[in-house]
Amino acid sequence: MSQNTKNYYLPGPSFWPLIASISLFLLAGGFTMVLNKIAMGTPLMIAGGLALAYLLFGWFKEVIGESVGKLYNQQVDKSFRWGMGWFIFSEVMFFFGFFGALFYTRSVSLPWLADAQLLWPGFAATWPSAGPGLTEAFTPMGPWGLPAINTLLLLTSGATLTWAHWGLMKDNRKQLTIGLILTIALGVLFLYLQMHEYAEAGFTIKTGIYGATFYMLTGFHGLHVTMGAIMLSIILFRVLKGHFNAHDHFGFEAVAWYWHFVDVVWLFLFIFVYWL
C-alpha cells in the first residue's frame, strides 16, 4: 500500500455530472408528461435518452482512456472493485423488494383475502391468482417449457464467460474472444425467447397480482440481461481493440460479476416465479 499511496489518481474537472443531472431531469420530467398525456413529453424523453446515451458513451470513453493510458494504479483498481461490488449489492436489494412483494402476497395477503369472507365470499387463496375481483380466466406460465430452456441458456452463458476469463488469464486471446461471443449470443437468445414467451403468454401485466409480480420481476430481470449484454458487447469490442491483459482487466471482471449476478437472480425467478 505504502508504495502506491503516493499515486492516488484524482481526475480533473468534469462536465459529465451535470450532463447526468440534465439527462435524468429530461427523462423524469418527460416521462411524467407522457404518463399524464402532455404532448411535450415524448420529445423531452427522447432528448433525455439521447443525453443519457451520450453521457454513458462519453464518460466511459474517458474512464477507459484513463485506464488504457495507465493513469490508474492498484489503489484505483481496488476502489473500482469495492464500488462495483456494492453497486451489485444495491441491485440485489432492488430485486429483494419485488421478491418481498411476491412472498407477502402469496403467504399473507391472499390467505387473508380468502379468510375475509364478507368481502368476496367463496374466494379461495390459490396460486397463481389474479385476485377475487378479476374474473377472466388466464393460463399461468409453467416452468418446464421455455423457462427451463432459458435457465439452461443463462447457466451455460455463465460457464462460457468463465471460460473466456480463463482464456484471458492464459493470454489466449482466441479463447477469450470466442467465449465472449458465445456468452453474448446466449444472452441475446435468452432475450429473444423471453420476448417470445411474453408474446405467447396467456395473461398480461393487468392480470391481477400474478401478472403484476410476474411481469415486474421477469421484466426487470430482462432489462438487466439487456444491460449486461450491452456491457459484454463493449468488453468484446475492447478485447478486439487489444485492451486488457492477464493481470489488468477489471473492466472485464466487473461485467462478469454483473452477468453472474443476473444469472443468480434468474435462478430465484425460475424457482419462485415459474416453478413453485
Binding site: 404518463l35 490508474y72 494504479n73 492498484q74
Partner: protein, 529 residues
C-alpha cells in the same frame, strides 16, 4: 502496473493546470471540499424552504377554524414539508459533512470517485425542481403525507408522478454517494489508520452508507410499483386483483425505518466528535460506540412494522415488532451513557458547538423515550396519528439531527472558512433555537395524548391554548434560523483568524491542516501512529 504509475506520476495534471474559477468551479468540481460546500448550501436552502412551509402549517393552526389555507393546501404543506426536510435538508447536510470531513479525517486526498461524487450532488437539483414544481401542476402537490400510502397516492394527480421520480433520482444520488463513501473509507485511509482508529464520525457514516445502499433500492421498488399501479394496470396495492395496500406500507417502512437511522447516526458521529473536544477527554467507550452503532443499524431492519401497528397484523407480529423496537434502546442507551461518561469530570467549556451537543443529548433522549412509549403496542394504538407522534419525531429529527447539524457547522466552520464565527451570536442562536423548539413541540405531547389528530387543519376548542403556544414557538424557531444564516455569512466574510487546531481539545488529522483547509490536502498521505 505499479511500475507504470511511477513514470506517469506527473500526469496528475489538474494541479499544475489549476482549476476552473467562477461558476465552472462548482459545476465541474471534482473536489470534495467544494462539493461538500454545495451540499451544505443546498441543504440550508431546502431547510429554509421547508421551514417556510412549516410556518404556513403553524399559522393555520394558530387558531381553531380555517384561517389561511384550504384543507387540500394544508395537506400539501405537511406532505412537502416532510419530504423536503428529510430528503432535501437533513440527508444532504450529512452528506455535505461526509464530503468535507471524511477525507480530512482519514488522511485521504479526496473521495474515491470524485466525478461520481459531484454527480451525486447535481442529481439533487432535478429532484428538488420536480418536488417544488409539483406545487404548481393541476391538483397541486402530493397531499397524502410524506409516506405516500396508496390508495391516496394511486388516485392522486400528476404531482405524485413528479414526487416519485424525484425520489427515484434522489435514490440514485444516495446510492452512488454511499458507494463512494464506503469505498473511500475502506480504500483511502492513510497508512496506519486501522479501522478501530478511525474517528467516530467516519464510523457512523460508514454504517449509514450501508443502511443507504440496503434501504434506498427497496424504496425505489415500492415507488416503481406505485407508478405501475397508477399507469400500467398492475394490482400490487389493489385487493380486487389480489394485491394489498398494506403491502406498500411494509415495503415502504422496510426502507423508512432504516431511513430514520440514516438521519440520526451521522448526528451521533458529530456528537461523538464535539463532546470529547470540549470535555477535553477522549471519547469514553470508543469500541462500544462502534458496536452500538452497528447494532442499531442491524436492528433497524427488523422493526419496520411498528409504524403499522394499527393497520392490521397478527398479534405475534405485533409483539415481535414491539420487542425488537424496544431492543434498539439498549445500544442507544450505550451511546447516551458514553457521552455522559465522556463529560464526567471533564474540563468542560461551553462554546456553541458544545451547547448544541449537550442539548441534543438531552432532547434526543426525550425523543427516544417518547419513541419507547410509541413502541408499546396498546399505547401506540391510542397514539397513532396524533400530535404525540409529531412531537416524538421532531424531538429526534429536529433536536436530534438538525441541531447536531447546527452544532457540527459551528464546530467545523473555522476549519472551512479560516475565521472564528461570532461566539456571542452563535450562543444567541443556540438559546433561541432550543427554547423556541421546546415551546413549539413540547405542548404537542399533551395535545397528542389528549387525542388531537395530526395532518388536520382544524381542531376542537380545547386544544386552542396549546396550539397557540406551539405556533408562537414555531414562528420564533423559524426566525432564529435567519440569525444562523447571518452568523454563517458573517463568518465566511471575516472574523478572528482561526488557528490550525481551532479548538484547544481538538484531535485528529483534520486539525493538522491549515485553516481554511487548502484546496488540496493529504496528497501525500500522513503516517498515523
Amino acid at each position: 502496473m505499479s511500475t507504470t504509475t511511477a513514470t506517469h506520476h506527473d500526469d496528475h495534471a489538474h494541479d499544475s493546470h489549476g482549476h476552473p474559477t467562477g461558476l465552472m468551479r462548482w459545476v465541474k468540481s471534482t473536489n470534495h471540499k467544494d462539493i461538500g460546500t454545495m451540499y451544505l448550501w443546498f441543504s440550508f436552502a431546502m431547510f429554509l424552504f421547508a421551514g417556510a412551509m412549516a410556518m404556513g402549517i403553524r399559522a393555520e393552526l394558530f387558531q381553531p377554524g380555517l384561517q389561511f389555507v384550504q384543507p387540500e393546501t394544508f395537506n400539501q404543506l405537511t406532505t412537502l414539508h416532510g419530504l423536503i426536510m428529510i430528503f432535501g435538508a437533513i440527508m444532504p447536510a450529512f452528506v455535505g459533512f461526509a464530503n468535507w470531513q471524511v477525507p480530512l479525517m482519514i488522511g485521504a486526498p479526496d473521495m474515491a470517485f470524485p466525478r461520481l461524487n459531484n454527480m451525486s450532488f447535481w442529481l439533487l437539483i432535478p429532484a428538488a425542481i420536480l418536488l417544488i414544481a409539483s406545487i404548481f401542476v393541476p391538483g397541486g402537490a402530493v397531499a397524502g403525507g410524506w409516506t405516500m400510502y396508496p390508495p391516496l397516492s394511486v388516485q392522486g394527480g400528476m404531482s405524485v408522478d413528479m414526487s416519485v421520480f424525484a425520489l427515484h433520482i434522489l435514490g440514485v444520488s444516495s446510492i452512488v454517494g454511499s458507494i463512494n463513501i464506503i469505498t473511500t473509507i475502506f480504500n483511502m485511509r492513510a497508512p496506519g489508520m486501522t479501522l478501530m482508529k478511525m474517528p467516530m464520525f467516519v464510523w457512523t457514516w460508514l454504517i449509514t452508507a450501508y443502511l443507504l445502499i440496503a434501504a434506498m433500492p427497496v424504496l425505489a421498488g415500492a415507488l416503481t410499483m406505485l407508478i405501475t399501479d397508477r399507469h400500467f394496470g398492475t394490482h400490487f396495492f389493489n385487493a380486487a386483483g389480489g394485491g394489498d395496500p398494506v403491502l406498500f406500507q411494509h415495503v415502504f417502512w422496510f426502507f423508512g425505518h432504516p431511513e430514520v437511522y440514516i438521519m440520526i447516526l451521522p448526528a451521533f458521529g458529530i456528537l461523538s466528535t464535539i463532546i470529547p473536544t470540549f470535555a477535553r477527554k477522549p471519547l469514553f467507550g470508543y469500541a462500544s460506540m462502534v458496536y452500538a452503532t452497528a447494532a442499531i443499524a442491524v436492528l433497524s431492519f427488523v422493526v419496520w412494522a411498528h409504524h403499522m401497528f394499527t393497520t392490521g397484523m397478527p398479534v405475534a407480529g405485533q409483539l415481535f415488532f414491539m420487542y425488537s423496537t424496544m431492543l434498539i434502546s439498549v445500544p442507544t442507551g450505550v451511546k447516551v451513557f458514553n457521552w455522559l461518561a465522556t463529560m464526567w469530570k471533564g474540563s468542560m467549556t461551553f462554546e456553541t458547538p458544545m451547547l448544541f451537543s449537550i442539548a441534543v443529548v438531552f432532547l434526543f433522549t426525550i425523543g427516544g423515550f417518547s419513541g419507547l412509549v410509541c413502541a408499546i403496542l396498546p399505547v401506540d394504538i391510542q397514539l397513532q396519528d396524533t400530535y404525540y407522534v409529531v412531537a416524538h419525531f421532531h424531538y429526534v429529527l429536529f433536536s436530534g439531527a438538525a441541531m447536531a447539524i447546527m452544532g457540527g457547522v459551528y464546530y467545523w466552520l473555522p476549519k472551512w472558512t479560516g475565521h472564528m464565527y461570532d461566539e456571542k451570536l452563535g450562543k444567541w442562536h443556540f438559546w433561541l433555537t432550543t427554547i423556541a423548539f421546546n415551546v413549539t413541540f413540547f405542548p404537542m405531547h399533551f395535545t397528542g395524548l389528549a387525542g388531537m389528530p395530526r395532518r388536520i387543519p382544524d381542531y376542537s376548542q380545547q386544544f386552542a391554548e396549546f396550539n397557540m403556544i406551539s405556533s408562537l414557538g414555531a414562528f420564533a424557531l423559524g426566525l432564529s434560523q435567519l440569525l444562523f444564516l447571518y452568523v454563517v455569512i458573517k463568518c465566511i466574510r471575516g472574523g478572528e483568524k482561526a488557528t490550525n487546531q481551532v479548538w484547544e481539545g481538538a484531535h485528529g488529522l483534520e486539525w493538522t491542516v491549515a485553516s481554511p483547509a487548502p484546496f488540496h490536502t493529504f496528497e501525500t498521505p500522513p503516517q498515523v501512529k
